[in-house]
């Protein structure tokens, strides 16, 4: 039985329709492209979840708390069902920011979006997309930016830990990790960087990892994907910071999320809400490189300093 049967009344808050007179995007798919129109006409763009299909509990009230005296920031979250992203979304929503959420699982995305609306986000748009599909990126981003009528922050959170053992045995598995953690973010950032640089505004905040700072026997495949991402993001900052775009390399230490559920010593990992509180502040400021929790800046300095002839004998 579906709760829908009981209570049909609810307002839809599917992605706000793009304002045709709104800021023009240099992304290759203009808001008025036939492809775009067609998708909207069909009521669904790359699987934008239709709210009428959600259980009652997952639909919005249509009421929004506008936080007094503050212009809501327009925040695009790529990988919105990530544990770290979701914790940030809750804080942004509670202060009334405008959100556009992208994730690949429609049910999970609907739950995160409902939570954001309930907490008071001034608007919540969403789209279902597998971000491995780099060909779909420009259209997706155009839709998101048009939906919000601009972009203040893009937060890239998607990522996979992968299985090191499997990756050691198969390049296919390695490739999948590199694709999701490196190639796909690079594709997204290429579009976003040009968009932001032309407007001389915006913050691109990217979740890399401390794991990218040194290749270790236990997870060098994941680590190398993050090392590549760190280098790309650092370089991008050096290119467009002077254009007025903040580009942030975020390096979390181990955090208690679904990604680290099976790991040993998990009790000692950082609390995701504390990590999110740090990140929301850091993103407001547009810091260059963020270690979170901060202690990891020191830990990684020590780890980087260990000579390789010693390091290769360790079981790290």
């Amino acid at each position: 039985m579906n709760p829908d049967d009981q209570n049909p009344a609810s307002t839809s808050a599917a992605p706000a329709s793009p304002d045709p007179a709104g800021p023009e995007t240099t992304l290759p798919v203009p808001a008025s492209s036939p492809m775009f129109e067609q998708a909207r006409g069909a009521g669904q763009l790359s699987g934008v979840p239709r709210e009428a299909e959600q259980p009652l509990a997952l639909r919005s009230t249509g009421k929004r708390a506008e936080s007094a005296g503050r212009t809501p920031r327009k925040i695009l979250v790529l990988g919105a069902t990530s544990g770290i992203a979701e914790a940030c979304i809750r804080l942004w929503a509670a202060r009334g920011d405008a959100l556009y959420l992208v994730a690949r699982n429609p049910d999970r995305l609907a739950a995160v979006a409902a939570d954001a609306r309930t907490r008071g986000a001034s608007s919540v748009g969403s789209a279902v997309a597998n971000l491995d599909d780099t060909a779909g990126h420009p259209e997706l981003l155009a839709h998101a930016i048009n939906g919000m009528g601009g972009l203040d922050v893009a937060f890239l959170a998607m990522g996979v830990l992968g299985e090191q053992g499997q990756a050691e045995r198969s390049f296919e598995a390695t490739h999948a990790i590199l694709h999701t953690n490196f190639t796909a973010p690079v594709s997204l950032l290429t579009w976003l960087a040009n968009y932001a640089a032309q407007r001389h505004a915006g913050t691109l905040a990217v979740l890399s990892s401390v794991a990218g700072e040194r290749g270790r026997r236990s997870n060098y495949v994941y680590g190398s994907s993050k090392a590549g991402l760190t280098a790309f993001v650092d370089g991008l900052r050096n290119r467009i910071d002077r254009e007025g775009v903040r580009v942030m390399t975020i390096k979390p230490g181990p955090v208690k999320t679904a990604m680290t559920e099976a790991m040993k010593g998990r009790e000692k990992f950082a609390d995701v809400d504390a990590v999110a509180a740090t990140l929301v502040k850091a993103i407001d400021k547009g810091k260059d490189v963020v270690y979170v929790p901060g202690i990891w800046r020191i830990i990684m300095a020590v780890i980087r300093a260990i000579p390789e002839r010693v390091f290769k004998k360790l079981n790290l």
Binding site: M1, P3, Q6, L56, A57, R59, D107, T118, A258, E261
Partner: protein, 473 residues
Amino acid sequence: MHYAVGMPTAVELDFNPPPSTEASDKAGGPPPFESWGRYPEYPAELKQLHWQGDYPRAIDGVHHGALAVGMGRSYGDVCLLKDGTLLQTTGMNRLLDFDPATGLLTAEAGITLAEILDFAVPRGYFLPVTPGTKYVTLGGAIANDIHGKNHHHAGTFGCHVTQFELVRSDGRRMLCSPTSNPDYYAATIAGMGLTGVIPWAQIRLKPIVSRKINYQGIQFHGIDEFLDLSSQAGNVEYTVSWVDVTATGKNFCRGVFMQGDHSQTPAPLKPSPKPKLVFPMELPGFALNRMSVGAFNSLFFHKQMKKRVSTLQDYEPFFYPLDAVLKWNRMYGKRGLLQFQYAIPWEHAKEGTVAILYEVARSGLASFLAVLKAFGDVPSPGMMSFPKPGITLALDFPIKPEKSFALFDRLAEMTREFGGRLYPAKDARMTSAQFQAFYPQWERFARYKDPALTSSFWERVIGGQLGVKGVGR
């Protein structure tokens, strides 16, 4: 493709990495999930539910029984399953909908009452019913049909649950409300997690204009004064009493009657600060003895020097005095603590309470937290709900194996003689015969039980009788 002659082929080369040399995980160690009493302790597999769609997928291939658990704030074994699979819901804690006009809140069932308060209080709403700790989940509050200091006004938590979804292990999803699947609605409220997993629920919050409570504390001596105060307080929303169970002779059944109402004077509705204190370590078993507890109780009684005090108090210390120190159950040491809570109907409430208090005093075992309250007659929708009109008394004791178990067994038997019953959420000892006498409707309830779900509590009190253990999906 062309290879030089003599090169080994791919098949001949071993491209597989050598097996890992890392030591495998050690078995044993502490149990992954404890109840608040830390007794009994059972090994179990612990899995986290993050999303509503995670269940029943999470129990694919599980054949030894499973159980949803929340914060583990139940004292005994309703939230345990020996050698089974526990599905912790706390990662499933999203708010799904809120209507500021009606106070109807929909949320995933792993949200805690603390998280609900953080959201609701600044918006001028409060929980319709709250237990003595805010660190319980919405699902746990429904599954034990918890009661609070306003039971005589508002009934149990279940009275304010407008609808929820129930997922069965075969994947069936049911919307339950007083009008939709009303039988599953009734069986699931106070259903101890046995009828299915609740992914989300909707409750009706109640409006407040201030965080403050108009509080009054009144000393009483003896059960008659307690009963008088209870009946005079008919119009007061919250009442509860602390009673000194170590006192004998002329001080027998002395205590402090505490009552309060939400202040009607508008005042800022800020969210609560986060608690900072964590009980640092386990105290040795001898730390809580009759002397120290007696001294504490005497101090508590005399802290209130006057017969009657009135203050305006924040709701946190009024409802959740113990939440200020996280993990305070460590105070009871490694062996843990036992709770004991009965409800005895009015017919025998007075004599039963006196007899049991007398038995406790005589045993020489000390109880810190002895809480006495008159239950009201608002009926609960829950089939297996614990409260009934009469008196309830809750006690807790550090575990001293022989002594405390013998006392508990005596008290349970006395409860039965006085026509009362015990609260499964706070029990680790009642026998199967006692449970079936306390809850004669259990056989009707068992018809709604999900075959793949069970708990150590259920195995203890029903167990073999229905052959539930080991039944897969």
